[in-house]
Symmetry: C2
Subunit: 208 residues, 2 copies
């Protein structure tokens, strides 16, 4: 039996399904059809059914999907059934805002380390985390066995810090730096750059 590979794009949609299902559970719903879920998400029923079918049959003909057990199944598929510790590099406005962001602990993400080069910041606290000098980046990441890093440094330092994180054993990087990073195939990278997203929008808004 060859294990069928699930397309990346399907994996990327699962967290959105989960987010919506959690909201529905909060609203007191117990069951949802692919059609209703699709409408809330702005996608199609067929796509949701197809995506879920990569992992098994979670629904019941006639009634749809039991919300609570589908949530549990998706959490297990995505490895969300534990707390993931994260290291943040860069304690500027963004790094500090991320460290304080309530949405992380609420969804199983714990910011454990925060680094900066600025001696005025090193030693100060952001919430319960003390900012450490980047000199200790490798040592601390290894010591805590952290696998996920967040880059919140200026573009010029992003590649260097990414390299150091990878060296220290980081396997996934979420970068807020406005540059393309060159990373080993084995490292999973995600990028957030609001300017790129706004510029995409400007193409469509420009037709006045």
């Amino acid at each position: 039996m060859t294990k069928e590979v699930v397309p990346d794009i399907v994996i990327a949609r699962l967290p959105r399904y989960l987010q919506c299902l959690n909201l529905m559970a909060k609203e007191g719903l117990h069951t949802v059809s692919s059609g209703v879920l699709a409408e809330r998400l702005g996608t199609t029923a067929a796509q949701i059914r197809k995506d879920l079918s990569y992992f098994g049959g979670f629904g019941k003909q006639g009634s749809g999907y039991p919300i609570y057990s589908l949530i549990e199944a998706l959490q297990e598929i995505l490895n969300l059934d534990r707390i993931w510790q994260v290291a943040v590099v860069g304690a500027g406005d963004l790094g500090r805002a991320l460290t304080r962001y309530q949405g992380f602990p609420r969804r199983g993400i714990e910011i454990k380390l925060l680094f900066d080069v600025d001696p005025k910041l090193v030693g100060t606290k952001v919430g319960s985390i003390t900012i450490q000098h980047v000199d200790y980046l490798e040592k601390e990441i290894q010591h805590h066995g952290i696998k996920i890093g967040v880059l919140a440094v200026p573009a010029e330092y992003a590649q260097l810090m990414a390299d150091r994180m990878v060296e220290a054993g980081i396997e996934g990087i979420l970068s807020y730096a406005p540059v393309s990073l060159i990373l080993p195939e084995s490292v999973h990278a995600q990028h957030i750059d609001p300017v790129l997203q706004l510029q995409t929008m400007m193409y469509y808004l420009g037709e006045d």
Copy 2:
């Protein structure tokens, strides 16, 4: 002559090309081949040539693309040849960090308005912007003729604030709220949710 429609996914890549080209220009390069650009971006030469060909022929056989004129062409295509004013709703950690973000003015984005409901925040300044009460959202957005809004409010208020922005004439929304928004077809929406991106990553990192 029927104007061929350019796929959304092509448009979404253009800002990344532009970002890389700007960096190369800064490095003093004058010309770049699709192959070299592709390597820096982690994509393929064929894709870059195909994407650019939707808009015309910008390169020269034998030598590649003149960086400076390709930058100018992309800026014009994306309507970046002017300053875009933006309204930010929500002046929490994130909203304030975005308002101070240097990367916006540097790339033609001017945060002009900042709103919140918190009376302790209203009237205070973030950089040169005074936080205004959301009661004035519609009036101010209309007065300045602003077309782009950024949502930096908690999930519970996101849909409501999105509706009000649309009502006020906003045509593009960049949302940092962790919910799916339901918006008219005519409004261009972009979402940023680091949790969703980290959860996608966790699927791949989980195989230990």
